[in-house]
Each structure stands twice: as structure tokens, then as C-alpha cells.
Symmetry: C2
Subunit: 216 residues, 2 copies
Amino acid sequence: MLPRKIADSTVRRLAIYLRFLEEFEAQGADTLSSKALAHRAGTTSAQVRKDLSFFGSFGKRGLGYDVHALARELRDILGLNRRYRVIMVGAGRLAGALVQFSGFNERGFDVVAVLEKDPAKIGQRWGGLVVEDVRHLEKVVKQQRVDLAILVTPADPAQGLVDRLVAAGVTAVLNFAPVQLQVPEGVEVKNVNLAVELETLSYAIKHRSDNRAESA
Amino acid sequence: MLPRKIADSTVRRLAIYLRFLEEFEAQGADTLSSKALAHRAGTTSAQVRKDLSFFGSFGKRGLGYDVHALARELRDILGLNRRYRVIMVGAGRLAGALVQFSGFNERGFDVVAVLEKDPAKIGQRWGGLVVEDVRHLEKVVKQQRVDLAILVTPADPAQGLVDRLVAAGVTAVLNFAPVQLQVPEGVEVKNVNLAVELETLSYAIKHRSDNRAESA
DNA sequence: AACCGCTCGTGAAACATTTCACAAATGCTC
DNA sequence: GAGCATTTGTGAAATGTTTCACGAGCGGTT
């Protein structure tokens, strides 16, 4: 069903297309052209068609794409037709915001446990969950059959925690700690680094006028 | 001082290099090779040298880079040798976590106001700030001389808010709302979409074994 | 002061991604 | 059912990014 290697940029766009397809779906639209989708997603129609073409031909020439059918295809391609069991490692404010974040749940990501080192936080109730001692990490990963970890800790303990997660069987990690995690082959890591985002904005602000003029 | 167009990927790596340089600085290291920096940042030495070469020659052949000097250069390149005045638009849990996030402050980003629509939240004290009515957006942007907005709202109101921000003079936005914002030329937008990150992980999990085997 | 081991800076080559442009397919109209 | 207006799917071209490979410069050693 699929080709050698798909660019990360393509996969990200597919996720974005899916979001807009579901919006259109909710608005009762049945059919959509690559042009309309591209406009919404901030890209070009050729890009949309090329991205989809890696996985098959889902459109009708002269007409466009069936909104429901394409949404279903994209959910299938992205692996969103199942649920994932997520462990949150770290119980700071960002972790709290993420646990509440409805987008995760709607997309099939269920937080099944929250771990923390700080004794003051262990035992707190978070929605239906109780914050557990990070010492029980291995036990929790196994008992809860965790698919995916979200790492929301300071930089320091991150590598040690990811080692333990991997040893316990976790094979996918969303990492908010500002370190480059070392993991064995076969384990997927995605990094989100808010400071980097701000700093690229800072760069853009500083260099904004470097189109034409250039002076000291 | 600078070339035509620098790739976003390069700028992001510069921000990452800077983080590790500052770590090494704190550990008392004086000199660092492109190889050592690359290892820490998860890339290659050639990449490090190429990234830096767009902006000048900062190293000493045979030796490597002076940690302090290179950190200073990177801060200058990234525009981090000044402070930015940030307005937070939206006062949900994620906004709360971001306001607390020490990384922002350390890097020179000062949150000077928090705006919100929900009357229940207006008037709350957040650290040294009071959550204000979003109706005062224009007044606050001007009085506080805001450089940069962080948009942490649902998708629906995002475009309208960004229009008002831009009209009031804001020229850089970090957007957490899951929409593709339309802005005029000269306004910088960076999108952070946590759902997209999770979905690319989901894709990676699903397609992990597509290296060799391929069956229906 | 000549040599040696190391590491930078950088064109050129390799690789990856996006854009172009057009044939083929579809529905609609007459 | 022929003609027309659309819109897809896709090789090929253009563009962008990373990797390679090597000349040049630096510090230390004899």
C-alpha cells in the first residue's frame, strides 16, 4: 500500500488536510477540489495532489475529492483509526494543560497515567487520574500497555527517563524537554521545543528587512 | 552582514546549537569542535559548519570554536540580544503554562499582558499580571508597545484576532490555534500544532515496519 | 623553523522536495 | 452522444538542502 519513504513535510500536510476535511464535513460539503483544500491549508493544489498521489488516487477528474472518503483514507494512512494509550511523564503545568487538551482525546490519544518525581505532586487527582510516583514507571507501562509517552520534564532527567521507557517497551515519544534524545533503532521521537519556535520568530523579526536593503 | 535567504531548518539548528553552547559554557568549556556540537545536537559536523558559514567564519582551524564568542554571535544572529514584549491572547490552561514557562523569560521574552474573552477569567491574577478583557486588545497593544503575540485560542476566533493584532501594529505571531492564518506581507507567523505532532507520530508507528516487508 | 595532527570553510556533487505543465477522465449541456 | 469546462494524477524540470571531500590555517612538538 505504500512507497519507500514519505517526507515528513508530506505527512504533516496530510494531518493538516485531514483537519480541514473534517471541518468541511461538519459544514455538510460533499466534494472538494485540491485547489480549495490547498487554499485552506496554505499551499498549492499541485502540492495537495502530489502528497495524496504517494498513497493512491482518491479523486475524480473534473470533480475533486469526496470529502468523507478522503477523510477516511487520510485517517487510515495516518493510523488514526485506532486509539493510543499515552503515558505523561512529568506533572508540571504544561503536562496539566496537555492532559486537558481535548484535541488529543478527540484524535484517539488517551492519557492512561501521569508520572512525577516530586512527592508534593504524587497522589494529586487529575481528572480521572491520580499522579503516580515515577519509580513505578516500568510497572505502569506494562500494566497499562502504553503505546506512547509524552515527556514533559526538565532537560536533565530526560535521557534517563527515555532509557527506562524504551527498556519497558515504549516505542514512540513526544519530547518537550530541550535535549536531543538518543534512542535505539525502531523508536520514534518527535521533538517540540517552544524556545526554538520563539527564537526563529526572533530571527525573522530581526532579519525582516533583509529583502532589499542591507546596511550596518 | 547576511545572505539572501536562510533556510528555516538552518535557523532552527542555530537555536539548538546556542542552547548547547550555553550548557557547555556553564560547564566551563572554552572551546568546542563542530563535531562535538553536532553530536550533541543530533546532526553532522559538516552541517554545523555549513550552517555557521552562511553568517561568517567563527572558528579557528585545528582548534574549533570559542564557546563564548560563538554563543555571542548566535545570540546576535538570532536577534536574542534584546528583549521582546509579548502579549498572550487567550487565558486557557495552555496559556497559563506558557506564561509560567521560564524558558521564555530567560530568552528575553516578557509577557506584558494576557487577554481573554470569558468574563469568568477576566480579572484573575496571573503572577504579576491581571487577565484583561480582549475588547481592550488595541489599547493594550499600543500602550504596552507589544512586539509579538502568542495566540492560544480555539480555531474559530483566531483569524479575527490576528486581524485586530496586525491592525494594531503587531508583526510577529506564535500561533497555537489549528488554523492557517492569513496575514499581510511583512507579518511573521509561526504555527505550533500539537495535534499534528501526535499524528505524525501515529503515522510513524503505523508505518514503522515498512522498511522491507510490505503486505496487505 | 619545518613537520604533523587536527579542524575549519566551502565549492561541487548528491539527494530531496516542490513546481510545472499536460494528458486523461469526468460530468454537464445541447 | 459530441463538445466543453473542469480537475485529477504524474513524469519531468526547477529549486532547495545536505553531504562530501579537500585545500588552507592553526597549535604543538622536535
